[in-house]
């Protein structure tokens, strides 16, 4: 479970290094964000996006959940009194020590974040970045959009990543970026009872244009295919739950869409057609479907074991559930039952249709009970590989099952 905090509480996807594609270069690179892909706080993965939080001096930080700006969490920074300190988020190397990455693609772009202050003196907080070994932190009051009179309200601010902000912010120096977010203060800055809340931190490329792309790929070799059909092989006849021959890569790279989310459901005009269906005379036959959002293409392995395309189903005496059959742990339940548009569950504790979103806190990676939307069910990010499964066990020959699978982006 990822919590957007300077205290790392990553409970899964640990230890084993896998081939993860870097997020550096995305138009909107999430630094302290649940809904945008970007950094990865799993240090043990040792990938380009690996970061950790460093703190020094007497700065305290905590995770908060009351009325966040984005997702389900935000971070509160509380400096000690009459002293110095700071903290930040930095790239790390294989030894988990501060390390550089090439972020020159973001030169002339912006550092954007949302802050909430409890005192106008918070405007003195130096906030910035570190490039080529140089700390560059400017008072919040220098950030575009900052209003020191706006107390206990979220405000969106930004800092240009070029020499207009600081002469050391150059393309060459940004090629050696370590701290993506840096807070450094001394006794001349701090005063009693200051609290700085931070949320939705991201780096933005110059002239960045937001986009939502859906790509179809083959499960067999991960190559891109130009098709609008998702198919199941006829060899799956009367077998079990089987994954489709194609999967979708959903990539939301945009910070301009307000309250966006991406939903997945079938639209077959009937609550009982929760997948593929066929009609023969007066009889109707249904293949129930399911789906799974994965951070990476399947299969792969990490600290929690194997992530596979195998689908298992069981009943625990209370409800039916789906699990990763190739993992061996029936408690690992990344698959969710598909629903028809006519039957979408909308209770706050039951959500089988939301794949990812601004307010949900990332993408829906774990079902738990009833497709729960609790904090533990979502992982940070906005780029996922979306796999589709169907129950082939009770299929009948002589039929062609079809269904309308809908990927729906909604925003204000």
């Amino acid at each position: 479970m990822f919590k957007k905090s300077f205290v790392i509480l990553f409970l899964s996807m640990l230890s084993t290094s896998v081939a993860f594609a870097s997020n550096i270069g995305r138009n909107f690179y999430g630094v302290l964000s649940e809904s945008l892909s970007g950094v990865n706080f799993n240090e043990s993965l040792h990938i380009d996006d690996s970061v950790r939080f460093f703190a020094w001096g007497n700065m305290g930080s905590s995770n908060q959940t009351d009325n966040p700006k984005e997702g389900l969490n935000y971070t509160r920074c509380v400096p000690g009194n009459s002293s110095w300190g700071g903290g930040g988020i930095t790239f790390v190397n294989s030894s988990n020590a501060e390390a550089d990455r090439d972020m020159s693609a973001y030169y002339n772009g912006e550092l954007r974040l949302s802050v909430k202050i409890n005192n106008s003196n918070c405007g003195k907080f130096p906030v910035g970045i570190k490039v080529n070994g140089i700390n560059i932190a400017v008072p919040l009051s220098n950030f575009s959009g900052f209003d020191s009179s706006k107390i206990n309200q979220w405000q969106d601010i930004s800092l240009k990543l070029n020499s207009n902000t600081n002469a050391n912010i150059t393309s060459s120096n940004m090629a050696k970026t370590s701290f993506l977010l840096l807070i450094a203060y001394d006794e001349n800055v701090v005063s009693n009872n200051l609290a700085l809340d931070i949320d939705y931190v991201r780096w933005v490329k110059p002239n960045a244009t937001g986009a939502f792309n859906v790509t179809v790929k083959k499960v067999s070799d991960n190559t891109t295919v130009n098709t609008s059909n998702i198919t199941w092989a006829s060899s799956n006849f009367q077998t079990e739950w089987k994954v489709a021959e194609q999967y979708l890569v959903l990539d939301f790279d945009d910070d301009s869409k307000k309250n966006w989310d991406v939903k997945l459901y079938v639209n077959n005009s009937s609550a009982t057609r929760n997948g593929l269906y066929a009609v023969k005379g007066k009889d109707e036959f249904v293949m129930p479907m399911c789906w799974r959002a994965s951070e990476n293409a399947l299969p792969y392995s990490d600290g929690s074991g194997s992530h596979t395309t195998q689908i298992g189903e069981d009943y625990d005496g209370t409800y039916w559930y789906l699990y990763d059959k190739g993992n061996g742990d029936k408690g690992f339940r990344p698959w969710l039952y598909m629903q028809d548009l006519k039957a979408l569950k909308t209770d706050k504790d039951k959500d089988y249709s939301t794949v990812m979103g601004y307010k949900t806190g990332g993408y829906h990676a774990y079902s738990g009970e009833y497709g729960s939307i609790s904090n533990s069910g979502y992982y940070s990010g906005s780029k996922v590989s979306l796999y589709l499964g169907a129950n082939c066990k009770n299929t009948i020959g002589g039929l062609k099952y079809t269904g309308n699978i809908c990927v729906v982006l909604t925003y204000e």
Binding site: F237, A244, L276, I396, G398
Partner: protein, 246 residues
């Protein structure tokens, strides 16, 4: 002036309460094509009730007490049918029906009338009379059961049909109430999404065959004897059992 200010305030308040949502939908067609999948395995075997030897026709031995009686007495045939169906292909059905008007040896020319005045040509035909209401037919009905029962008897059901036995009459394509749809073809099998027991289906509803074991059911045949003249022969050579994949 005050009125204008108030109106503007109301408009602003409503604007703050609503927003337009933009929805962008991408639709993919999911396809699982099992058109060439599935198998059909069906058998219909007549056997003697006594001894279980394979038989080639249905015979009735009518006790003398039923001959010439005014009350219809349903007599079980001396043979029964073993019906086995393992079908994993949709659209497969086995229909049973008669075409007595087409017979040469037991030709029906005149129908008999039901209580509702509908006309039927089905059953066993008196070839001398070529049908008709008076001693022209012996109506025939059948039942499906999941276990063999040599002592099975037949009770005429009314509109409410037993869920465990199908009380179906033989139907002829010339019957006045006959229409070619699911209700009027006597279908042996019906795929309800599963490979499973044999069903019977007709205008009275479906028999679900819940007591069928290993996809095998048993049919028993009953003739309704009444007003029968001793020494006469009734029969049919137009009982068709047809396998169809639709």
């Amino acid at each position: 002036m005050k009125k204008v200010v108030s109106l503007l305030a109301v408009l602003f308040l409503f604007a703050g309460l609503s927003f337009a949502a933009t929805v962008s939908t991408t639709t993919y067609v999911g396809i699982a094509d099992f058109s060439n999948s599935g198998t059909v395995d069906f058998s219909f075997t007549l056997k003697n009730v006594s001894g279980d030897a394979v038989a080639s026709q249905l015979n009735w031995t009518s006790p003398d007490a039923f001959v010439g009686g005014s009350t219809v007495a349903w007599v079980r045939a001396d043979q029964y049918a073993v019906v086995a169906a393992t079908v994993t292909k949709a659209g497969f059905n086995v229909y049973m029906y008669q075409t007595n008007k087409n017979s040469s040896n037991y030709k029906a020319e005149t129908p008999r009338h039901n209580a509702d005045n509908s006309t039927v040509y089905s059953g066993l035909v008196n070839p001398e009379k070529k049908g008709g209401d008076f001693k022209g037919y012996i109506p025939v009905a059948f039942s499906f059961v999941g276990t063999k029962n040599a002592n099975i008897t037949y009770d005429i059901k009314t509109a409410t049909v037993s869920a465990t036995r199908s009380d179906k009459f033989f139907m002829d394509t010339a019957d006045s109430t006959y229409t070619k749809d699911e209700g009027d073809y006597m279908k042996y099998t019906k795929i309800a999404g599963l490979v499973g027991p044999v069903f019977a289906q007709g205008t009275d509803g479906d028999w679900t065959g819940s007591d069928v074991v290993n996809n095998t059911a048993y049919m028993y045949f009953f003739g309704g004897f009444a007003n029968i003249t001793g020494g006469e022969k009734y029969g049919t050579d137009q009982l068709h059992i047809v396998q169809v994949t639709e």
